[in-house]
Symmetry: C2
Subunit: 437 residues, 2 copies
């Protein structure tokens, strides 16, 4: 398995590993695997080497920026990175060089991250399949839209990567590829310098190989944490967990239901307080309403370009945008009202049962074939309500594909979510194999 | 002479001229003259025609957006225009397509302007000469950095254009090309979506063929005017004018001194109250300090790119950036202190003599040859102090080159500046010939 950020950080801090050597390991993996995986739009070997060298020299002078110092990170190709193109899967934008960093990218640089390159996104962060392959089975989808970020982390081409989620674009690819993903609270991470999909549901967030690494990245890129990590107890107390059924069982495949029952029983066994939680009635409309909000807000941004350059839009995003363009304003207004109401109802619902986090499967099934990017039904509710989620793999299906669970917390309760996720990850004692490449 | 915006607007409103026909007149001029003038980076004939058609149809339905409805406008190539590249004179940015409009561009669209294309800027709005020619003499400079905007308006390829000024980049090209320019109060017009040169002195502003047209454009693009134009009296009262001597005579060539004396005596004759005004002692340092602020702030933005792509920087901007990079912070801090002090001293100085506006030449001399973009010494003080300026041509030199005067007002007193400029323009009864093309 590739190194975790926190293991690499410990080695770097102790002088056992240099940022240069760590980067070279990643570049070697890219050299060896990229032809099969196609996770990258651009790899800036020279730039990354220069930065790793500079950060290595800083260490020699006793300067240590923190746990991302010298850590190779990939950036989804919808984030502006100074002097690199931001194509976002568009052919016409292929040479559109960013004049400055997105806020998130600037923060990663300040934290000492080594930017390796831009990772493949589905076109405009929507759901036309990208060329990226799932490292666990090249004929399966890596999920979307953060396809390249998930596949690159899963294969150790970088230790963490930026993703973004409007439907299920962090949780789903991370889960399909057997790595961890965090979709933070809406507004926690800046969208400045990021190509939008649907402004009221766009969430930049990290993809990494474990929960701890997600927290490290989120503290660096988010607002209002102070410093989350020192608050993470070495041995967090067992959390109170509300297990979601309803929608989250109806649409789940057998392999997922089975793994959820196993997870449930291990967590209880280890001392977690797991209760079943009934969703508010208005939850049943979430998938349909989410589609309306996404279609309209995506069309708000893309309509003019779609008219000018229809050839630069794949069939799925085109269909979405056409829905948005044709949507009566009253339908959108009703969806927005529902979105606000559901946010409030979810808060009341979680408070009523006094749980720290909600638990549900991360995806409806293991990675399907490459005809789609998979079903975001278990993710879009959290993009819609803006609640923070953390997902991490818990095992493999019978056909050797990763399966993951997802924890959901109240708005801005990422610290609580991370305590719970760290506890669960440890309780479940997951040891993922490496993808069979 | 090309049509003014206000004459065209009157014809459009009265149904005597359609936006389509007006645009075609401009496109014909581009077809006829562009090869010699080289004012444009990009002309979007199809896009402009579609927009002119739409605006013509709006008029048929009785919709009138105001005095920019259907007016062809050029945009300096440092402003982002949706779906057009923003090259800013960089080769590497030649295909960097803007994802959205700069604020100023959005406001122009909302006001009904027809965007004709992107006008040539010197590289990064600095002072390496651009390929644009001066329409009055093809061997002379059109000035910089808003070279294309000034030359395009002077030749009727568009009726108004966006420029920007950090040193003398609006007033100087406008004056050299025989048209009018307004550098608004610092902060009056948004720099959002504009490639920066020096953030504390960057001023987007309009170039047009007369003072009235500048006001029309400024109301559309600026903040906090309410609606300036209805407040402009038909016959404004004679203004109280403080004539600047000192620096503004020491560096002026004979032709400029002669024209200033003529202007002075006509304005007095017509009833203006003209008094000589002595500049604060600290004014003598303005040219040198301006250079420091510009060099440091330009380097703040460009340093990393200059290091990565030295081949994408001309000799003059390179020299400026190297000065900025080498500048001790204390020199910059002293210049910033001086800049703040001079702003305050200029306010006191103008209030002490109870004048509406200051009067000085717009440039030190008529357009020099194409080896430079000309001397910004009479403009950079106003970029440095942020005071609003209006310049307009008052005649021709013996060798047939335009000469202009410049009025300067107190911060945010654009309305007063426009009243005075309209009065002066009328009093001087300037009738500029067309450039001899």
């Amino acid at each position: 398995m590739a190194k975790t950020i926190h293991a690499a950080a410990a080695d770097i801090r102790a002088g056992r590993l240099s940022p240069i050597d760590l980067l070279e390991t990643c570049l070697e993996r890219i050299d060896r695997l990229e032809e099969r995986i196609r996770a990258w739009v651009l790899v800036d070997r020279d730039g990354a080497r220069a930065e790793a060298k500079r950060l290595t020299e800083e260490l020699k002078r006793g300067q240590y920026r923190g746990p991302l110092h010298g850590i190779p990170i990939g950036i989804k190709d919808i984030f502006d990175v100074f002097d690199w193109p931001t194509a976002a899967g568009s052919r016409l934008w292929a040479n559109s060089i960013a004049r400055q960093d997105a806020t998130v990218v600037r923060k990663l640089r300040e934290a000492g991250a080594v930017l390796v390159g831009k990772t493949v996104t589905t076109q405009y962060a929507s759901f036309d399949p990208s060329p990226t392959r799932n490292p666990w089975n090249l004929e399966r989808t890596p999920g979307g839209s953060s396809s390249g970020s998930a596949a690159a982390v899963a294969t150790g081409m970088c230790l963490g990567a930026m993703g973004s989620q409007t439907g299920g674009s962090i949780t789903r690819p991370a889960s399909y590829c057997g790595v961890a993903g965090c979709k933070p609270t809406y507004g926690r991470v800046s969208c400045d310098g990021v190509v939008p999909l649907a402004h009221s549901m766009d969430h930049p967030g990290p993809i990494a190989s474990c929960v701890h690494d997600l927290a490290t990245m989120l503290v660096a890129i988010g607002k209002g944490f102070g410093n989350l990590l020192p608050d993470l107890p070495g041995t967090p107390p067992p959390p109170a967990i509300g297990r979601l059924r309803g929608l989250f069982e109806d649409r789940a495949h057998a392999a997922v239901l089975r793994v959820m029952d196993e997870v449930d029983s291990v967590l209880r066994e280890r001392g977690a307080d797991v209760v079943d939680l009934t969703l508010p009635a208005s939850f049943s409309e979430v998938v349909e309403r989410h589609r309306i909000v996404m279609a309209v807000e995506a069309a708000q941004f893309h309509e003019l370009r779609l008219r000018r350059h229809p050839e630069d839009y794949g069939p799925n995003i085109t269909k979405l945008l056409e829905e948005g363009i044709a949507c009566p304003a009253t339908d959108y207004a009703r969806a927005k009202e529902h979105q606000e109401r559901l946010k409030e109802e979810m808060r009341i619902c979680i408070e009523a049962v006094c749980v720290d986090v909600l638990l549900c499967p991360a995806t409806t099934m293991p990675a399907p074939d490459r005809a789609t990017t998979g079903d975001p039904a278990f993710n879009s509710p959290w993009s819609y309500t803006g609640l923070p989620t953390i997902s991490f793999p818990v095992g493999l299906s019978d056909d050797g594909l990763p399966l993951a669970i997802q924890l959901v917390a109240k708005e801005y309760e990422e610290p609580e979510a991370f305590w719970a996720a760290l506890w669960c990850e440890k309780a479940l004692a997951v040891r993922m194999a490496e993808p069979p490449l």
